[in-house]
């Protein structure tokens, strides 16, 4: 066995997995509360990557930033997260809230519309070309190693930042008043509103947090892979959702673990399975089908009696 290949794949799998986990969280939280597949979520992630890029260039660009690299990074993350959070809230207001009592398929189609709208707006405004984060100029090319595990700085940053965000989210949901309101709304929306919880506000907050996490993931993608483009949200959205399903949709720890599983699976498939670098998406698809067949409620999900 070629251990160095294995470790390389593991590191890139963990990095990818962190991105997917962050995207999956948004899917899972929204699904938990509204039972809605937010198809536009992947595109929010894409917009996040572009906001990060514009923030970077507003601060003087990667080669000659106005501030120290770390400060630029913080600003990039913050603007992307806040921008995407607002975008998420707007999407919910505009495309989903009026449809809460419509037939079940209507918000799904509305979501599809938002997705295609965002994607092509990005094409229109940002153009079809790739935009480069030029991470090497911004944070250097240094790699760290733990034993045989070689991490580049962006990879390390991604994994650590993702873990921090997830811990913060877990604490928020478990401890804060709003977090508790979110959990009770997910459990039973009607009962929650009767208990005096402002359900609309809870839903807005859920969209804000979910979209902000996706925005952060978008910036991370730019840092790790360098290039961003208008269509990047589609595949990331698919895989984020796959991660959410594998982990058990509606479950927050499930989304995190699911993200890591999908990331590692994709990475190992690239390295080990026949024609993996071409067909890695097919292998992830197979994994999704396998999970749906064997354990439809996902790793952490509870068995839910289907509604429609």
């Amino acid at each position: 066995m070629n251990w160095s290949l294995f470790f390389d794949l593991t590191v890139s799998g963990l990095t990818l997995g962190s991105l997917y986990a962050l995207v999956a969280l948004g899917y899972s939280m929204v699904y938990g509360i509204l039972k809605l597949l937010n198809f536009a979520h992947g595109d929010v992630y894409m917009i996040g990557a572009f906001i990060g890029w514009f923030a970077l260039h507003a601060l003087g660009g990667p080669v000659n930033p106005d501030f120290a690299g770390a400060a630029v990074l913080v600003v990039m993350f913050l603007t992307a997260m806040i921008g995407c959070g607002i975008l998420g809230v707007a999407i919910e207001r505009f495309a989903y809230r009026p449809l809460r009592n419509a037939p079940r398929i209507a918000p799904l189609i509305s979501a599809l519309g938002v997705s295609i709208f965002l994607q092509n707006s990005a094409l229109l405004v940002f153009g079809a070309q790739f935009r480069d984060y030029q991470t090497f100029n911004l944070i250097g090319v240094k790699t760290y190693s733990i034993g045989n595990l070689f991490f580049s700085v962006p990879q390390l940053l991604t994994v650590v930042a993702a873990i921090c965000l997830m811990v913060a989210l877990t604490v928020f949901v478990a401890r804060s008043r709003l977090g508790k309101a979110m959990r009770s709304t997910a459990y039973d929306r009607e009962a929650a509103s009767m208990m005096g919880i402002d359900v609309d506000r809870v839903i807005s907050v859920t969209f804000f947090i979910g979209s902000a996490l996706a925005g952060a993931a978008g910036v991370m993608f730019g840092l790790v892979f360098g290039q961003i483009f208008h269509f990047m949200g589609f595949l990331a959205g698919l895989k984020g959702f796959t991660a959410a399903v594998i982990g058990g949709i509606g479950s927050i720890p499930g989304a995190m673990i699911g993200g890591l599983v999908v990331g590692l699976a994709e990475s190992y498939a690239t390295g080990y399975l026949p024609q993996g670098s071409t067909f890695q998406n097919l292998y992830v698809f197979a994994l999704l089908i396998l999970v749906i067949l064997i354990r439809p409620s996902g790793l952490f999900g509870t068995v839910v009696v289907q509604k429609a």
Binding site: L37, L108, N120, D188, V305, A308
Partner: protein
């Protein structure tokens, strides 16, 4: 999640029934009475016609189209309208009848095209007759649909949407790369031509008669649509059709009334896939090629837009949907057509939405004055904002030059304006009263600015899909049942 979610509760605590009370019935009756006046008479008469007569009427009208226009127009408007229409009819079985969100639908379309391409092209040295190839394509696509649908059998809800969306992507990756897969026993096989696709696909050859040329293909499509529609109307009022509608209404009650819900959903799924495969074969003969890029998400959205515009479950509305969705973008391609359509649509929206007339006149006057004011200020202070010219020629375009801002290099300004405009549209509903009245002219002006300086420039590209996406959202907001669909009564 409570254990009894969505099924009659274990505890008999349903509370007071909300349906069935007199006010509720009355409100529903009121909804139905909306069809009044001439339109009501026409609609009622239309509803009374037998299905076959309705199909013949529509098809008969469509058959006249090639007689009154040129081959080029038939190709541009007719063929694609019919291909999209046929696809939407098949999708309607899956989504409209059975209520399944199938997002891998275009992959079945592509699969049909590729299968026919393999059976009838010099690339594979096969030259099957159409009467043999078409059934093979239909059955093969149906079987593929069965294979895709089976794993999702237990989860025919939202997971089906994601599994099929992923399937569509998987199909794309597969056909793009299946020219160099190494199979055990067979070695390297070129299954799909990879990114080059299959070229030189032959026309349908029915017992020696070749269907080709724009008109031939047009009538082939029309006949196919008529046959599929007549079949579908028969199914709609059969045991299977009733079961489909029942399970869309209430899957649990359907199951309790001896209807095998999962099997019927699978059947609808397979049915839709087979129609898509058949359409794919026809499309392959139109394009004389099968290319991996043809079966993308953009096409999927187009088909969904058609079906929704036509109304879920309404088969005849799809004709209208197909004409609107596939012709309008074609018309939009030239600015001479696009401009009147755009301003006409805006005017219409204002006419419908703003009452009374006095307010309407004030708003329109405000808009015109606002434009001249902005133009005057800009040309005095920032002349480079007004240096450009409106696209196209003619009186209207030249008049616009004096009213609308046309920056010399509109790229960046227009990009920013686009983002601001979207934000403004999102925020606008929050404004109330006087603010709303005051802000409306500015909002409209900004929409027109973006239209003239950005959307009109990109009319062949992203604009089409942006408009389609916005249309889907707006339509779901305004009429969740689709433009021509019947308003469904649902218990919330």
């Amino acid at each position: 999640m409570s254990p009894d979610d969505g099924i009659p509760g274990p505890a008999e605590s349903a509370g007071a029934p909300r349906i069935g009370v007199d006010e509720w019935v009355a409100s529903v009756e009121e909804k139905r009475e909306r069809y009044s006046g001439l339109r009501g008479v026409a609609l009622r008469e239309w509803d009374r016609l037998p299905a076959a007569a309705r199909v013949l009427l529509c098809v008969g009208l469509a058959a006249l189209f090639p007689l009154v226009t040129s081959d080029g127009n038939v190709f541009r408007y007719g063929l694609f309208t019919l291909v999209y229409g046929l696809l939407a009819i098949g999708l309607n079985v899956v989504v409209g009848f059975a209520g399944l969100l199938d997002l891998g639908y275009v992959a079945f379309f592509g699969f049909g095209a590729y299968t026919y391409g393999i059976l009838a092209s010099p690339q594979y040295n096969n030259h099957w007759q159409a009467e043999a190839a078409i059934p093979v394509v239909i059955v093969a696509t149906g079987v593929l649909g069965l294979l895709v649908g089976l794993p999702s059998r237990r989860l025919f809800g939202d997971y089906l949407a994601i599994a099929t969306l992923f399937f569509g992507q998987a199909f794309y990756v597969f056909v793009n790369n299946a020219n160099r897969i190494k199979f055990p026993f067979f070695g390297h096989t070129n299954l799909t031509g990879g990114s080059n696709g299959i070229a030189g696909i032959e026309p349908f050859n029915f017992f020696g008669y070749k269907v080709q040329g724009t008109r031939g293909l047009y009538y082939l499509l029309l006949i196919s649509i008529a046959i599929v529609l007549i079949f579908l109307f028969a199914v709609h009022d059969s045991r299977t059709g009733r079961a489909w509608r029942a399970l869309r209404e209430d899957p649990l009650a359907a199951e309790a009334m001896s209807i095998p819900v999962n099997r019927l959903k699978l059947l609808a799924f397979v049915f839709g896939a087979a129609v898509a495969g058949f359409t794919g074969a026809i499309y392959a003969t139109i394009a004389t090629a099968a290319l991996p890029g043809d079966y993308n998400v953009g096409l999927l959205i187009t088909i969904y837009a058609i079906m929704i515009l036509g109304g879920f479950g309404s088969m005849m509305g799809i004709f209208v949907g197909a004409i609107v969705v596939s012709s309008v973008p074609e018309l939009l391609r030239s600015s001479a057509n696009a401009r009147p359509l755009f301003y006409g649509a805006i005017l219409l929206a204002i006419l419908v939405k703003i009452r009374p007339w006095r307010r309407l006149a004030l708003e329109l006057g405000g808009l015109i004055a606002f434009g001249f004011a902005v133009h005057a200020i800009a040309s005095a202070a920032y002349p480079r904002l007004t240096d450009g010219k409106a696209i196209g020629s003619g009186l209207f375009a030249r008049a616009l030059d004096h009213w609308m801002l046309f920056p010399r290099n509109p790229e960046h300004i227009a990009d920013v304006a686009y983002i601001l405009m979207v934000a403004a549209i999102v925020i606008f509903p929050q404004a109330t009263g006087l603010w709303r009245a005051l802000l409306l002219p500015a909002l409209l002006y900004s929409v027109m600015f973006v239209w003239e300086n950005l959307l009109l420039q990109q009319i062949g590209g992203a604009t089409r899909l942006i408009l389609l996406g916005a249309l889907l959202v707006a339509l779901m907001n305004a009429r969740p049942q689709g433009l021509f669909g019947k308003a469904y009564v649902e218990i919330v």
